[in-house]
Symmetry: C2
Subunit: 400 residues, 2 copies
Amino acid sequence: MRVVLKYGGSSVATIEKIQKIAEYIIGLKEKYEDVVVVVSAMGKTTDRLISLAKEITENPSQRELDSLMATGEQQSIALLSIALNSKGQKAISLTGFQAGIRTSGVHTKNKIESISSDSIEGYLKNGNVVIVAGFQGINENGDITTLGRGGSDTSAVALAAALNCECRIYTDVDGIYSVDPRLYPKAKFLDRISYEEMMEMANLGAGVMETRAVELGKKFGIPIFVGRSLSEIGGTYIMEKNVALEEKLVTGISITKEIVVTTISNIPFSSENIAKIFSIIDGCGLNINMITQNLNKYMRAELSFSSQLSEKYLLNQIIDKIRADFPECDINLCEHLGMLSIVGVGMINNSGIAGKFFSVLSKNGINFYQITTSEISISCSIDRENIQKAVEAVAQEFSL
Amino acid sequence: MRVVLKYGGSSVATIEKIQKIAEYIIGLKEKYEDVVVVVSAMGKTTDRLISLAKEITENPSQRELDSLMATGEQQSIALLSIALNSKGQKAISLTGFQAGIRTSGVHTKNKIESISSDSIEGYLKNGNVVIVAGFQGINENGDITTLGRGGSDTSAVALAAALNCECRIYTDVDGIYSVDPRLYPKAKFLDRISYEEMMEMANLGAGVMETRAVELGKKFGIPIFVGRSLSEIGGTYIMEKNVALEEKLVTGISITKEIVVTTISNIPFSSENIAKIFSIIDGCGLNINMITQNLNKYMRAELSFSSQLSEKYLLNQIIDKIRADFPECDINLCEHLGMLSIVGVGMINNSGIAGKFFSVLSKNGINFYQITTSEISISCSIDRENIQKAVEAVAQEFSL
């Protein structure tokens, strides 16, 4: 039997923690014949490296930033391998290129194109625990690439797909709750959740796992376990809907605390213009969530979209380009907002959820602005100061 | 015209220094069409990484230590490239494997086997300053390797040979002096020195440049300039003897402050036994200098050799292995010693130098223990506390 384990940055933040993870892995080798471990960079290493680059310039070369950031994982895998070897367990560390992880896309936000697992299989056959750098790969030019923040989850699930085994993501939370327990301590713990619900939760800001990783798990039917590092209790399985759960109406609440809503008004309306704006956004690699568009009687369009406040440096690049291409447009930013979403596979077959959601907000004096919906979720932007109140009211209404 | 520049760790120790190096390189681009820059890790990064590994175990896996250490240079090259790009100079960073640097040998002490410079040539053709990670490469198994401390000099000279151009090593000293000016402030500055003399100086502890780098320069006839970072004055050219200088008797003094002399006595004498001891030493990768051997009347050999005190962890491994294979031997360490050498291409044709050297030491009450000689050098071990006195006496005697 084989397994892919993944440890996040906080699980390997110190040498002491790395030693404990090494001991845990040696214990697991009794159960699993083949163990592959994906590791993130130690603690805040990635942030520290980015801030070094930012000391030089606000807009560092993205190719070079990738190469710089990738050193964080290269260090943590080498140290974990040193720890395993020193305790008598053969182990070998592999960077993205050594593990055969090919990527494509824009720098700092690459996607995994393929994994040639021959070298991993070879090292496993020789009795090694194989430790792979998460978050990184190599593109067709031979450049070192990264997969975007949280990309180590994606590395782990992609490796589990390539090796056809279970993926166990170890982190600093017990698993998945219906609502972030830091915001709503009475939140219910979920033993199981469907890929679809988890994707909405991840996308909408639950922050426990990267959406792409869950999507990849769904695509290849890889069961994903999420649980606390070094703990034997708790943990949530992310799996197919039909095996996962009876269909609850609303499974969870997801919050993104800091968003910025950009509104571009007075756009001369044509599909070409709107497409051009989105291609500028794509070109800069900004992740946007809620998108809404209106048309006024003078055939001028108004386009709004939300993005993470933490990516405002990308947003600023986009605004400069839009200003250059559409000098007649007005651009306004609203930065005091957060996003609130409810998620549940049952929604699609049940009417009245939206009404109940919005009436509970208005009853509690909480204004909502943009609204977007998917088959299994409803999201809206609200004032950041109202997030706590909104979570409590909605959680009670839907018995989460 | 093209050039390979090399900056050591202290030249890129801070972001501010990296910015200054970037500006200097942009200035150089007016003179040189093609510029390749080899960079070491920032400041004390390599030491910090090694001590992380040592927190886990005294004997870390050498393959993993290589991969860990190589991140230091990957960071500094990415940051220098970010600085150049932000100032409008196209630049690209290449790790050892990206630059096509193939190595062979034991981990942490690899040798450069070959450089396929195609990718570097391609990037140069597109107008890039190409920044290459010093000190590292990749072996035939695809493992990341390092070249040993100071290996960045070797990387730079090997690249200059592959690209057929001059190599300029920038460091935190003005160039080469006849004696380390920190020990003997009246030391003469040398504008030029021959490869051979520099090799002896490097080997014997002058510490300005790696011997292998000078050897490589000699082999491929690459002129090597050594000078202070960001300074336009001073600097020493290392080049062929006949063009370099009139033959002085003694060109310089070289000091290794902290050595340990290991004496193994009561070895049952046979060539096999002595060869076996040296193969144990080679296997652990310890660099040894002075070697002496005596045979007593009972056909028991006594073997002594000196090594750097900083490599005592390797020496301990060797002693354990020798004790296991030769339980009847006595092993003694003498740790309070330093090494003093005089170097000069003129020595070979002039008698009386050795006599002058030893008599000046004894006149000043300085005991010397082991003695070894080469065609252009004489070395001996002395008590560490006498080094300063010995340097002054010998420098005056030979007018250095």
